[in-house]
Amino acid sequence: MEGKAPAKARFGMVIDLDRCDGCGACMVACAVENNVPPARPSANDRTGLTWMRVHRATGGGPQGGDAVFIPVSCQHCGHHAPCVSVCPQNAVDVNPETGVVSQIPERCLGCRYCMAACPYHARYFNWWDPAWPAGTEAALNPEVSVRMRGVVEKCNFCHARWHAAKAKAAAAGKREIDPADYVPACVEACPNQAIVFGDLDDASSPAARLAREPHAFRLLDRLGTEPKVFYRSEREWVRRLGEADVAREAKEA
């Protein structure tokens, strides 16, 4: 259910697509931080769990063959988040303090209605029972709960790290967290520092500043979802990728 009080902070991201080279370090770091189980041998790109997922798109340049890499995670929609209103069990929680949209796996029935609703395809289903090969469970992150088979999961802006930042601030007697303490795994891992994370409502944060620049855009703006993940690029054809009606070559994947 949507929180009643206005968010005290609105955490968001700005991802610089001119810096992203598609290395996938963000994907790996996300999986490690959030205890995403290794894929089964029969999994493919449509059944795997990739809370952060780097897409490749082509379009610009002289022959339209220039490529860009677009990391897509949950966009943490700010308004009319499609997944929040459709969940029959209220298993999607919007934190009023952070604006983060997170999944409650213990309450999820696995009906996958939220997955049909999400236009960013940012939600992933546990088609298998999570299984860690012997010994690898020692590398699990103790701060993050593991999920079970048959439930939906997705990016939650490394909410455990926010809790850790809050605990640290509380231990130091402070009420507000130090922004430097709350850095999601993907932001931390990117070698080109393409992802900037911060409170969009805090005018002094780099994320808020970058989000307001003219070359910033969001995906599927006209749906009215008000996502908190921004992208930026100097290239116009890349910015046009935010529009759904960009002509595409119709082909089957």
Partner: protein, 410 residues
């Protein structure tokens, strides 16, 4: 051998022949139960659904079967509330079919969800803004109503009615049947609509998203209309089919004519409403969300021919046949039109469940398709087999068609 169980005066085939008819369906059910077992034990990786195609054959089956099962509530409404007494000839059969459709749908739904044991969570943590919550509550209540409408038919079995408490309870239940029919109509109106609402509210899927009235998108009303338009057609079709398979005359021709006329008028209204809705959607709703409508049909397997087939071939054509007295008097045309109408509602549900998911929402995604796995197909066929088995037992041992005995005597 089982003659004491059969309605007096009705002729039914020999027990051996009946078992021969049931055997392949039982085998199909067995294979289906195996597939269901695999899915429940090993997980939904047994299906070919994936993160792009979160809904597949089963959800399509659920929606289609619930739309066809609308004949139960609508016939009940016409008979008990609007007092069209000719329909007492088919009400029992319609109720049984409705019960089988809804119980089958709920059975498949329990396999479809990732955590079936958490099914009660929707009742404990209901999200009143979600169409799926409404659907869950409604079809659960409605299945209860259908069970209480089926019960009297079972209690009137030749041997069961000899038990005085069964007979008396059946008598009293029958007296309150109009109340149950009314409740059933109310519930059905809402869940048929909410099943449409499921897709109409998806603002993230411009292919499915519709404007509407207050909180209800236009698909809410279109689904109700299509369900009540096709309900009588399905009752007609199944009655004819059962008559053909059993070799008996089950109802007077006037009953078919009435069902056809009702279906025809409602279909005509539905086609008109659907055309208006489609035009509004293509010209206003979809472009407003940033989607280019031509892209909805740009991919060959699902070109504009789908739209044409759904509305014209499976909607307008049967409506015209039903409304023509000359054509509907001929059984071939009558049954053909009923089949087309049923195909139309099935196509509509397919478009809303499967085609919606093929259309990409992000510009850097391709169109995608999915083929169901054998486990999914086997589960689907298990539901069909279950329905055939229970219906066959009902046809043999219960008085589903009150007019049959008189028509038998010529």
């Amino acid at each position: 051998m089982d003659a004491p169980l059969i309605v007096r005066g009705l002729r039914r085939c020999s027990t051996r022949r009946f078992l021969a008819w049931m055997l392949p369906w039982a085998a199909l059910l067995g294979v289906g139960l195996l597939a269901i077992g695999l899915c429940l034990v090993k997980g939904l990786n047994q299906t070919n659904m994936d993160n792009r195609f979160a809904f597949g054959l089963w959800i399509f089956l659920d929606l289609a079967v619930i739309a066809l099962g609308a004949g139960a509530f609508f016939t009940g409404f016409l008979l008990y509330i609007l007092r069209r007494h000719e329909l007492s000839a088919v009400i029992n059969s319609a109720v049984v079919i409705g019960f089988l459709c809804y119980s089958g749908a709920i059975g498949v739904l329990m396999v479809d969800v990732g955590q079936p044991l958490r099914a009660w969570f929707t009742f404990w943590h209901p999200n009143v803004h979600s169409m799926l919550t409404e659907v869950t509550f409604c079809i659960t209540c409605y299945l209860t109503v259908l069970a209480f409408e089926y019960l009297p038919i079972v209690l009137k079995n030749r041997q069961l009615r000899r038990i005085p408490s069964f007979l008396v309870f059946e008598f009293e239940l029958h007296k309150v049947m109009p109340v149950l029919a009314g409740v059933g109509t109310f519930l059905s109106f809402f869940h048929q609509g909410s099943l449409g609402g499921l897709y109409g509210v998806l603002r993230g899927r411009p292919f499915a998203f519709r404007d509407g009235f207050a909180i209800w998108p236009s698909t809410f009303f279109l689904f109700i209309l299509s369900a009540i338009a096709v309900g009588p057609s399905f009752v007609l079709l199944t009655t004819w089919l059962v008559g053909k398979i059993s070799g008996r005359t089950l109802v007077r021709p006037g009953v078919f004519q009435l069902l056809a006329r009702i279906s025809g008028w409602l279909l005509a209204v539905y086609v008109a409403a659907k055309c208006v809705d489609t035009l509004l959607w293509l010209n206003r709703t979809a472009p407003r969300t940033g989607a280019a409508p031509y892209q909805f049909y740009a991919w060959e397997p699902f070109g504009t021919w789908v739209l044409f087939v759904e509305i014209v071939a499976f909607g307008l054509a049967p409506a015209l046949v039903f409304l023509s007295r000359r054509l509907r008097a001929r059984t071939g045309w009558l049954v053909g039109a009923a089949t087309l109408a049923c195909a139309g509602v099935v196509t509509n549900r397919f478009v809303m469940t499967i085609q919606t998911l093929t259309v990409p929402t992000l510009p850097f995604e391709p169109y995608m398709l999915y083929w169901p796995s054998w486990q999914e197909v086997a589960t689907f066929l298990a539901v069909v087999a279950y329905a055939v088995i229970v219906y066959s037992l009902s046809f043999r041992y219960l008085a589903l068609f009150p007019q049959e005995r008189e028509l038998q005597q010529g």
